[in-house]
């Protein structure tokens, strides 16, 4: 019975259920909340990358108008250790005098107004003892960590294969640091009531914030309630408990009032992590007709002094193509830099640029169409284990995309297509995205009027979780979407996982699926206890649900409504707890495949000036079952824009001596504007995935991946110049 009964509700472009709230300003984001007696906090950040605080003079700040409190390491509360939650969280701030990166919090000022807090924060005078900072990934003194996640892979004999390969590509590809920059300024509003704490907070995982804050402040987890019903974007920035959160909590405890701490845009650059830069060394061996015989991919990414990060750039090369020998190795280097952190498609975004550029180079080397070489080396099964994929429509992505794009119109010769001053280039890239899923839970409730509501502590970061889960539950309970109410973003609800890793839809969706199935079972059982019920004696397996009614399969008149069953039994509601835990590949006998995709890009390159313009993009993706095509398309569109940004603009620049981020404003850190984004054609292919009961593969990140490689490959086709470093700026393209 746990199959989806009303497929018409799924897949369709149902409008966001939270859309009216958002466009009328009624959806309240963390910085929209204000509480009576609330005070405001402003942070002070270090202006050196390494050393210790010799003296911190707060005299003027303390005397400044409206100031209630100034907290430094000298008067900060001693806080407990921050537990790791999947990955590490920053240890509590202001616990010692050590400076580990430029921009580290060294004080927080609390005042009656934001202006007074900000003005007073500027009056704090800090003297430092400077230590030598390590800022260059190539610095031999820097600590290096090999195989940080135990995910390095090796099969076959890469060394011999490379030695014997008639054709070899051996190149280095680099990507720059990028900053997530969600539009909503991250805000924490902390309010203590005795020993219980309420947080309105910008994040992607309320239960994680709850757990970390509770541990730091030594209170039971249940004493902390984190509210994040809406958040102004995340792109990975909200997946850790960043230091401004305990600062706000500590400040609220010090002043005995609610305290609001809203980061500024420049503070967002140092306080929420950023995408690591990467260096990728790739060697490909191939036969003369373009068949891969060896792939070797090594990567080097960066870490802060006391953090960790999961950026498996080289793993991309272990699952993308069929090759009899593969080696992938990742390495990290610790620097005096602000935390590196997940940003939309961590590892994949960078690794894919390297691999898909190298594959393109190989195609040119052997004289094969770049589309053909990808089809030729297509991995029919998981090349690492030989197991079948849970689903994989990469071939279809490439073939359908090529047709939509008109790839056959491409003149293979370099520089052969031109339009005025502009050289025209076609570029393609394939994407095999990783799979990720964590346990999750949800409560499903049907009320006396037959409507449902569903609760889970996860948050909707704007991707459409409220909407697709309403659709899913409506489909499973035989209701209309309007009869389902979703409640999310409250840590006191059933424990939920992160809105990250493109894994929430599968995790929460599977939990909702489980909960709906259990609830229908309860209804059937309940009906079975009523001898007058038309469902009496009907086994669960034979029950269908539609239009709010349970009935016997093939006998639509033999049944009764959910509301009636409740009424007969004098119940106001009936609920069930749903949960999901992903199976293992061994259990399933298959390798779970993340989303798959293909990018086709037409670039225009001004030959003299090196200006690159993206003229059109076709992006075809296999996301398994698409629950809502309109919202999925939005995810791909947004990812595509991010991909153009990564390819051509985004570059978090660090001053080489001080470690200061030199472009920490929207005026200086370039993201694409509308005029940079051409028509983008989005299409979905593929079938429901076999690895989870609802058949979905997340599409939150994949849209970004592959865009940079396709653009770089297009530039090569147009100009014959190979771009191996992101972002691609005109000085690199100019001859």
């Amino acid at each position: 019975m746990t199959t989806i009964q009303q497929p018409r509700i799924l897949g369709a472009g149902v409008d966001r259920v939270d859309g009216p709230l958002k466009v009328t300003g009624q959806a309240r984001y963390p910085n929209d909340f204000n509480l009576p007696g609330m005070a405001y906090a402003a942070v002070v950040r270090s202006t050196i990358p390494s050393g210790r605080i010799r003296r911190i003079d707060t005299t003027a700040a303390v005397k400044s108008p409206g100031v209630l409190e100034v907290i430094t390491h000298e008067n900060a509360d001693h806080l407990g250790e921050a537990p790791a939650t999947f990955i590490k969280n920053p240890q509590p701030p202001l616990q010692d005098d050590q400076i580990r990166f430029y921009g580290q919090y060294v004080a927080v000022v609390v005042a009656d107004t934001q202006q007074n807090a900000t003005a007073a924060a500027r009056l704090i005078d800090v003297e430092y003892d400077n230590h030598e900072a390590i800022l260059d990934p190539h610095d031999p003194r820097a600590e290096r960590i090999k195989d940080p996640w135990g995910e390095d892979t090796a099969w076959g004999d890469v060394r011999t294969a490379l030695k014997r390969a008639p054709v070899m590509i051996d190149q280095t590809y680099t990507t720059s640091e990028n900053t997530n920059n969600p539009l909503g300024l991250f805000t924490t509003l902390a309010s203590w009531d005795g020993d219980t704490l309420t947080l309105h907070d910008s994040n992607q995982w309320p239960n994680m914030i709850q757990q970390v804050v509770a541990a730091m402040f030594g209170v039971p987890r249940d004493a902390v309630r984190v509210l994040t019903p809406f958040v102004g974007g995340g792109f990975g920035a909200g997946l850790r408990c960043w230091s401004h959160i305990p600062l706000a909590v500590m400040a609220a405890r010090h002043v005995g009032r609610p305290v609001k701490l809203e980061l500024t845009r420049p503070e967002m650059f140092t306080g929420l992590g950023h995408r690591t830069s990467s260096i990728n060394w790739i060697r490909l061996g191939a036969t003369r007709d373009g068949r891969l015989t060896a792939i070797e991919h090594e990567s080097l990414t960066t870490l802060p002094l006391d953090g960790d990060e999961y950026e498996p750039c080289s793993s991309v090369s272990a699952s993308a193509y069929a090759s009899p020998s593969v080696t992938t190795r990742d390495q990290q280097v610790r620097l005096n830099i602000p935390w590196t952190n997940f940003m939309r498609a961590p590892g994949d975004a960078q690794g894919n640029f390297a691999l898909e550029s190298a594959i393109d180079e190989l195609a040119w080397e052997v004289g094969l169409d770049p589309l053909e070489i990808r089809l030729l080396n297509y991995a029919e099964v998981d090349p690492k284990t030989g197991r079948p994929w849970s689903s994989n429509a990469l071939r279809q992505c490439l073939e359908v995309g090529a047709r939509r794009f008109g790839w056959s119109n491409r003149n293979p010769e370099i520089g052969s297509m031109r339009d005025g001053h502009e050289l025209v280039g076609y570029g393609v890239a394939g994407v095999s995205f990783f799979w990720y899923q964590q346990p999750c839970s949800a409560k499903v409730i049907v009320r006396s009027d037959g409507s449902a509501y569903i609760r889970s502590a996860v948050t909707d970061i704007g991707t459409g979780t409220y909407t697709i889960m309403s659709q899913l539950a409506a489909g499973l309970l035989g209701l209309e979407v309007s009869q389902v109410e979703m409640q999310l973003g409250d840590s006191s609800m059933p424990v939920g996982t992160a809105a990250g890793g493109s894994g929430l839809t599968a995790a929460l969706g599977s939990a909702v699926h489980d909960g709906c199935g259990r609830l229908i079972q309860k209804f059937v059982d309940l009906a079975g206890t009523d001898p007058f019920s038309p469902l009496a004696g009907v086994p669960f397996e034979d029950v269908e649900v539609s239009e709010g009614r349970l009935f016997r399969k093939g006998e639509p008149t033999r049944g009764e409504s959910l509301a009636r069953i409740l009424a007969v039994h004098g119940l106001t509601e009936l609920s069930a707890d749903g949960s999901s835990t992903p199976n293992t590949p061994e259990q399933m006998g298959m390798t779970p495949a993340g989303a798959r995709g293909a990018r086709f890009v037409e670039v225009r390159v001004d030959e003299d000036l090196g200006r690159v313009r993206v003229a059109r993009i076709v992006t075809v993706n296999d996301g398994g079952r698409i629950l809502n095509e309109k919202l999925a398309r939005s995810q791909i569109l947004g990812g595509t824009v991010g991909g153009v940004g990564m390819a051509l603009f985004e570059d978090t620049v660090t001053d080489k001596d001080t470690g200061r981020i030199a472009n920490a404003t929207f005026g200086d850190y370039l993201i694409p504007v509308n005029a940079d984004i051409p028509d983008v054609h989005v299409e979905f292919v593929g079938e429901p995935d076999a690895f989870n009961p609802i058949g979905v593969k997340g599409v939150g990140e994949i849209g970004l991946v592959g865009v940079a490689a396709a653009i770089a490959n297009g530039i090569f086709h147009a100009t014959g110049r190979r771009m191996r470093s992101l972002p691609i700026t005109m000085d690199a393209v100019m001859e």
């Binding site: 603009f649 001053d655 030199a662 370039l670």
Partner: protein
């Protein structure tokens, strides 16, 4: 918060008097640069004298001259029909600057006085900036410079003048009307800005208490063709890496008269007198354009991040000349 006083006088004379008599006072017009700098802690006036209600707004035709009130907004000037017909490159420069929202606030007088976008100037946490703290040094020259000047620059300062509008206005020999308690003086825009030299904090000839009241734009002869070509990293809402303002009068294949200025390259809007010499009475050929471009970029001061601008600037000018003469 950091307190400051605010006044809004109703006459030009009152406004000038208010600023002249307080060394820590300044005029406030559109505020699109000034207020940002105050928020960032770069600029700390004790008194802001709001001039936005003064009768200094509007565009008047005066023979072969357009007289533009200093408080005319960028959008208003960009909509002027005469300017569109006679000197479209000024309109192009205006519309390629900032965003509509900013252009509706920003004034012509204020645009001429906009401060550099240099990241080291705009962050008070950076100790060394000769423009912000005279004598403190220049951090940009040793750091990551891209949006910086290659002409007029020196180890003391490589900050770029970021105005687009001032580039074609320099080419046209616009004249700035400056009012003070002593009376009015007129300064050609080509002599209005100061090279940074050893005093990068002094950016122009204005003395404290002097107010720009108008800008005269001489209209080029009928039949003049003009272009403003702006090259930048993204397609919109971004400052120029290089830009070229060119106006020419053609006689068949020969350039009779040429006006050239460039943006994105200089510590001030960079007028190309030598390039104009090369172009005058010369055939409109690639060789001529290359010579003009070589004459435009003389003795550049470069740092690693700006080295590419030498060739990019030349090619920008060549492209502009090619397009405007063809």
């Amino acid at each position: 918060m950091r307190e400051f006083r605010y006044e809004r006088p109703s006459t030009v004379a009152e406004a000038i008097r208010a600023v002249a008599h307080d060394p820590e006072a300044d005029f406030l017009a559109g505020g699109t640069t000034e207020v940002d700098l105050m928020k960032d802690g770069v600029f700390h006036p004790d008194l802001l004298v709001d001039i936005t209600r003064l009768p200094l707004r509007g565009v008047r035709r005066n023979g072969t001259m357009l007289q533009v009130g200093a408080l005319t907004t960028m959008e208003e000037l960009a909509a002027d029909r005469t300017l569109m017909e006679r000197a479209p490159f000024v309109v192009e420069a205006l519309l390629r600057g900032a965003s509509v929202q900013l252009r509706n606030m920003a004034t012509i007088g204020g645009n001429l006085l906009q401060r550099t976008r240099c990241r080291y100037f705009r962050d008070p946490a950076v100790p060394a900036c000769n423009k912000r703290e005279p004598g403190s040094g220049c951090e940009a020259v040793n750091s990551v410079a891209r949006m910086h000047a290659i002409l007029g620059a020196s180890p003391a300062c490589i900050a770029l003048h970021a105005s687009d509008m001032a580039v074609p206005l320099s080419a046209l020999d616009a004249v700035v009307h400056i009012q003070s308690e002593e009376g009015e003086r007129l300064v050609p825009l080509t002599q209005f800005y100061l090279m940074p030299g050893e005093t990068p904090d002094r950016e122009n000839v204005l003395r404290h208490g002097e107010l720009i009241t108008a800008v005269d734009i001489p209209l080029p002869p009928e039949g003049t063709r003009s272009i403003y070509l702006k090259i930048r990293d993204r397609a919109s809402y971004e400052f120029a890496l290089t830009s070229a303002a060119v106006a020419v009068v053609m006689d068949g294949p020969v350039i009779k008269e040429a006006r050239v200025a460039m943006g994105g390259v200089g510590t001030i809007p960079w007028r190309g007198f030598e390039a104009e010499e090369v172009l005058r009475e010369a055939p409109a050929t690639p060789d001529t354009f290359r010579s003009a471009a070589d004459g435009m970029i003389r003795d550049p001061f470069i740092v690693p991040g700006t080295a590419f601008k030498v060739e990019l600037a030349k090619r920008t000018l060549i492209r502009a000349l090619t397009e405007v003469t063809s």
